[in-house]
Symmetry: D2
Subunit: 388 residues, 4 copies
């Protein structure tokens, strides 16, 4: 197998991000087994053909059921709408394909467990798209923690703050409808923070949360677009918003650390503040996705007169992936969190091991999300173990 042949389902925002990653691999990571962009799939024939040409795929399909059984495909990459993940993933597993699935893995925990079981039963590789793990600055955070340089962890404070729906005239896009999106800020943004916490701190033990929908009705969307920059029509009839605008929760981790996590779309000035801070017995680290190349690091054992958070630009030779890119000080963008993610996926297949994060991580994340939902509904602390 000289390359890994990919069939991708979905061709919008995430399809573009994944395609870009596949295209970047042979150029920037020539030692990684090369993904071959065999087929792209979507329901709208004209739309998928346009994306095929634009993104550089060899062929297009309009029926994912055909795609997942094609002989010339090794990997199925699922970035279709969330409500389609489960069915596709299980079919792909049954067809013996390796699977990359965007987050959220599924609309609920039960479905995600089914998906994990199917993939395990089929013996295929499976990965879930928690791309933020793969920012070099986040990799540095992981390294510092793993090497014990931050010590025992006391606190995790994580936020994902956005502001694109503060205007009450912003329309009722699909992300604000529970039957399609599954969840609002919690599942969309909070899921990333939960995964980051699991990656860096460890497993959650118990949680308690609260949530709110600040704008309860919004203009129905008449146009076809539904992106983050959609414009509402002030005169349009209104429909009910059925997901959360903001969800916050407190957490206790298995290792005794305390967590505070918040996801909101109602924080003006924050276009995409996916940030966290970790405090340990030997130091602290801070990250903000809007400055994706930077990590703030504090060491308690620095000399007494020069203690302070260091702003580390994670573009030096000592930083993950950096040698594949540009000289020190030359930053990379958001998009390459996906590139690095695909490095891991290709490497895992080539090395015959499970990639990380995989469906098991998607399941765990979903368990935490649902434990928070349950804690909100029942107004009490919920242990993650209750969900399993």
């Amino acid at each position: 197998m000289s390359s890994i042949r990919v069939g991708m389902i979905g061709y919008k925002f995430m399809g573009k991000a994944h395609s870009n990653a596949y295209r970047a691999l042979p150029m920037f990571f020539p030692d990684v087994k090369r993904p071959q962009m065999v087929a792209i799939c979507g329901r709208d024939a004209a739309g998928v053909e346009q994306s095929r040409a634009q993104f550089g795929w060899e062929s297009a399909e309009t029926d994912w059921r055909k795609l997942v059984v094609r002989d010339d495909i090794d990997v199925v990459d699922i970035n279709a709408p969330s409500d389609a993940h489960k069915e596709i993933a299980i079919a792909a597993a049954e067809a013996g394909k390796h699977i990359f699935c965007e987050k959220p893995l599924a609309l609920n925990l039960a479905d995600s467990v089914e998906m994990l079981n199917a993939a395990e039963k089929a013996g295929v590789k499976h990965m879930v798209g928690f791309n933020y793990r793969f920012a070099p600055a986040v990799q540095l955070a992981k390294k510092l923690i793993a090497e014990g340089r931050i010590g025992k962890i006391f606190h995790f404070r994580g936020f994902f703050l956005q502001d694109w729906i503060v205007d009450p005239e912003f329309p009722l896009v699909w992300r604000l409808q529970k039957d399609i999106a599954g969840s609002g800020a919690h599942g969309d943004l909070g899921a990333h923070v939960i995964d980051m916490a699991r990656f860096l701190v460890g497993e959650f033990h118990e949680v308690i949360g609260m949530s709110e929908t600040f704008v309860k009705e919004r203009p129905l969307l008449t146009a076809t677009t539904g992106g983050l920059t959609a414009k509402g029509d002030a005169g349009a009839p209104k429909g009910e918003v059925t997901v959360d605008d903001a969800t916050l929760f407190l957490a206790r981790f298995d290792n005794g650390a305390l967590g505070s996590i918040e996801a909101t779309r109602f924080a003006p000035g924050h276009r995409c503040t996916n940030s966290f801070e970790i405090n340990g017995s030997k130091g602290s680290i801070k990250f903000d996705f809007e400055r994706v190349n930077e990590l703030q690091v504090f060491f308690s054992d620095d000399a007494d007169d020069v203690q302070g958070f260091r702003r580390v630009l994670a573009t030096d030779g000592a930083h993950a992936y950096s040698q594949n890119w540009w000289p020190p000080g030359h930053t990379i963008g958001y998009e390459h969190t996906f590139t690095h993610e695909m490095v891991e996926f290709m490497n895992a297949i080539a090395e015959d091991r499970q990639p990380v994060p995989n469906f098991a991580d998607g399941v765990e994340c979903q368990a935490v999300l649902e434990a928070v939902d349950k804690s909100i509904e029942e107004r009490r602390w919920v242990a993650i173990s209750e969900l399993r």
Copy 2:
């Protein structure tokens, strides 16, 4: 009454801070009725005499009971240890003196209510020392909110992070003993955040919290000092830490805003990060006490291409108190949060009105603190109204 005659009980850190404020008033606020530093009081005669001379008081007392009834005193300023606040305040009220009391008002809600009742019954002015309200940058935050420039508030996120007891060999100072301090990070630091939230957002409706004592035993303190920079003796016998090292809680405000509040002494790199962020329908504001002169402000209606948080240095003519200090760009320090506090106190007395914040604010703060404690003990949401 050409000046307001002050008798102050307590002569350590807070006694120094208050003395400095009284001394600053005639110089920087010549139009404010002048405080006369009549008497300072403390149990240790030599200690209090040294402070008297150093801080510039006219006389010294060693028995607060004598002080509070002196004819030549109009105001009693209480910054003795927290466990003495109640008895002194009630005696001062009964003696008809106006009262300034450091926070926390009392060790518990019941005591603080008694103090408020005593002061109201006596018809004296009463103020509580939530000094952070009086930073010009915080005053600007208040002004922006009051003028509706931030719009309806969605979120309050407040933190008070310190790191002075991360070392497990740091000794068992009085602040780590519940019978003297009443509370740990929660009452010491969290109280300031709660007051800030009440000042800027409004009343709390319900809360749920969690807390932890990361280091459960510490070396007993043999030396007499107990300050924030005390050094432990590694060989000393150990005693139990009886307060929280960290307390976090979620909150819902009466006006529907969501709150997340955390107080910890286990955040390396944070010497004194008393910070908050508020998100509203028209903008956001951010504050960090370590940069006490600055406020970050975002307006959603800024032109599309130049939206961003502004770093406002609150030293311009348009900012509170600034015209009494130095030209624009010339910052002031922490200490003048006390100076401004005393401006309010002196003005309230001169204008025959209650100062703000007063004992009622101390009571409300205590109610929230205890609601959080109760929520931790009972592992459930607690409405503030349950405490009243």
Copy 3:
């Protein structure tokens, strides 16, 4: 002409950057005429073949003279070492090819003028690689100035600070040898700042400078690599450093603005600080390449109580190129300054107009560089007009 057929000479750092840009165009700028990556050229057959395969070019050449006359080439992209630019560019012009040439255009002003003349005589399009102009944040700076929102410009303060040769054991790479590199920090880094100043402020009138070579001898390089992260051999014999480590100069612009410009490779902690600040009668702007997506903007007519520099993240819909990338708050990297540069080049060819910046800009930049050199040699102010 359905696409624009490119032949590229050079296959190292810049060859990689350009290739990446060409590859990005059809995906992210599908409306721009598509570059066809026809041939890559370099002297080392094995090396160029490796890059051909890695970067995705259709064919490889080892003789640039053959490349520039190929019938299937519309454009010659020159990113070979600086000392080869002139000969190649003139040959390409004579062959009727459009030319993209990396900066510096040539080793000296006379050569650059010859190149410009050749291109003009041949009637081809010509562009020079001042890529930093194409960061969206810099484009925003340009827009604000062009729209008069910063007012009349008083000051330009520009720095390009690096630190990769501070260690005296860093070896004598080609960039430190005048006969190959032409210049040191001045021509390599200062040229970018000069171009930025010309782009944003206007033409230089006169200059006076100073320069220094802090480490005058360095270990000879035995290994073949010569990149920014080369390691020296402490025991190796030493050779003379023949370029400047740092060059600073003052400038007066034609429009009366004052400039201060510095380029140095001796600024520890600065991996790639290409920064500037501009002060005008209505406001100020600041940029730092290490935070390439951000622009700091100050407006003097903001309300009195909320004046402050705004940190604008240039990823909103209102910002140049942003709609071709990701949603607001999702940053892009250094590499796409090249992508945008190629958008301009392809568009200019398609629209039959000269791209900007073109060889005339390369000539002007070279004139300023040499005026500074002359001012250093003669220890006096030198008008740019003296050089013409």
Copy 4:
């Protein structure tokens, strides 16, 4: 001598700053010999009496000639307008008084030399008011350099940026008139930067500068006030601005370091940006007066993966003066640069040694200022030695 008896001439901005410092000493530096605020002096009897009462001086004088010969005065503190410094200082020296003189020491170098000579001949202590040296963060910079922790210095980059006269309708206050102020931005702001460079880097060797007066005529001032926040009268007749609005210069230090220094009052958004950066062989430091408690420090020998500028809050026990103030993280303001300055002055008198900085530093600073002026006039490099 149980205290040091001070007579102060001047009672405006600087008189207030000095008075505040004298008042702070006994409280915060009880071990320092106490200044006794014996007499304040100014020409306007009513004005000086008001300041006397407000600032807390024992007596007032309206004739400085009487003040300097009073028997009950040990020290003369001169903060009268700059054009009066020389005459007063010489008279004070002849009367055997120790002298504190605000910067600039005199209107020109010759005068400042006379003042130094007079003080030396009289054998009195003399100090000049370069207060910025005394910020704890600047003291830390000095310490790091002195201990060799930054290594050999390559670069000094210093700026003093303000914006209070950008509006062309701002009136012609005394600071804009050469006969009274002596100089504009150069002497007022640049002098501070020059002193900082001398303090941290060493002596200047040669300089070349440029300057500009952007607004050449301004409304005459009809009101009596002339402060930084004066408002102009759009209809008033105009007068000529006779000082520089901005002056920039390049410098070479005796030790080989390169300098770039700029002073301007035309930088919108900068209320008081007195900032510098120093690059050395082992690291770098950065300071900005608007964040007076902070120093940014970079060490080249930090571990490879965590290199970055540290933001050090100079309020820890390890920092100069900090133990006399508040706990770590509790910042102090601009005003205490004067307090620390007076600590040095009082200590020098008590220890019978010259304080630092003293008149010799004032002379050196003036020499650099005039060398820059000469270099502008003659459009050539000027060695400082030419001035001596």
